[in-house]
Chain length 204, copies 2
DNA sequence: GCCCGATGTTACAGCCGTGTAAGTTGCCTC
DNA sequence: GAGGCAACTTACACGGCTGTAACATCGGGC
């Protein structure tokens, strides 16, 4: 992530807008949504409030714009990961593991954004929850497709959607552990355990 | 939950204190921590700010006291549930299922408090996270004890702590689903699925 | 090279929450 | 039934954030 250029120089509207969103994201990451104010963002960006108002109607609009941008990025990352899981290639188990691996990589690469998704803070604009819920539904749907046929004969889930949700929840919990205590829960440990878990779910 | 008596009458210090905590809990439940203010609590309680200051040093202390009280209650509820899981009685699977069942019942009985635990909102005093983390560790430890010997021969977990965490995470996700969409995810559906899941984890 | 629009600032009025000091009122006791 | 303490209110000084209007300045294009 490029540092949010606390430049004093003048900026084009586009650059300024991006910078303000960067600053907002940083502040949310550090202190949460409730700590963000137009005043604070302006101060941190090295400018004055009216400039911010020139770009965003009010605090809500600013936060929404930030969430919108980050959400879009996160969904794009997901889009790159999910197809992997549906590849007709390997076994469902390998697909799921590859998906988890990609997911953890994406989370590690942009912790602030994914922290928003994984620990959705109150005070966030409703757009966030909607976006998260949309993303999660996509994931669950994809997982359900993998799970429905069963990981092997005799292990068909009686409730594919719920199974998918639980898998998604396990993946999220893994990501959460990695985010909050990476030294104790390195990616290899999480992946190794997931591999064991999925093996258990196979018949025989 | 007794309604928080918006009485105008004078109150004993103890009753007033409890009422203020009730009001605070309500407001947090409705609008989140960030929306709570001494002013707001006083207004809702039908009194003036100095009364609140008579009981709590500042907003932080008020929120901490509320979290403290609710946390203690939640931990007490957990304490009633957890031993069940360790009962030498039935199979590990039955113990785990009974534990989940009790957990879901507790959550349904006091949604506001458990929502705090399951969806820990930013803006909450650090005490909350500490209390949650303490509670979760207790649960994970208990689950790990159940899981370590394996749910059956040949199914010993290579990483009991992580397995326990995943089980705990699945239970939490179940509770979360029940809280956010009870008609779609009634307790029976969640329990039935958990039963299937645990059966899959058994060997053979 | 100068001019005009875009970028940015200073300044003001207002709202809401904080915390405290001083005074008032109700209740319980002796 | 009068004192006295606990419960409560009124009132004030203060600080931070919100929006907006009026003014200043930079810089690219003709």
């Amino acid at each position: 992530m490029p540092s949010p250029t606390p430049t004093r120089a003048r900026m084009s509207a586009d650059r300024r807008r991006e910078q303000l969103l960067d600053v907002t994201k940083e502040m949310v990451g550090e202190q949460g949504f409730h700590a963000v104010s137009i005043e604070g963002v302006a101060r941190r960006a090295g400018i004055t409030r009216p400039v911010v108002y020139g770009h965003f109607d009010d605090l809500g609009a600013l936060l929404e714009a930030m969430v919108e941008r980050e959400g879009t990025r996160a969904l794009a990352q997901l889009a790159e990961i999910l197809p992997t899981e549906l590849a007709e290639g390997g076994s469902p188990r390998d697909d799921l593991l590859a998906g988890l691996s990609g997911y953890l990589a994406a989370v590690a690469a942009d912790p602030i954004t994914w922290r928003l998704v994984l620990m959705p803070p109150e005070g966030a604009p409703p757009v966030l929850r909607e976006q998260i819920s949309r993303g999660r539904d996509a994931v669950v749907a994809a997982l359900a497709d993998v799970v429905r046929p069963g990981l092997g004969p005799g292990s068909e889930s009686p409730d594919a959607e719920l199974t998918a949700r639980m898998l998604s929840s396990v993946a999220d919990e893994s990501a959460r552990l990695m985010l909050t205590d990476p030294s104790r829960y390195p990616r290899e440990r999480l992946l190794a355990h997931a591999a064991w878990l999925l093996r258990q779910l196979e018949p025989g």
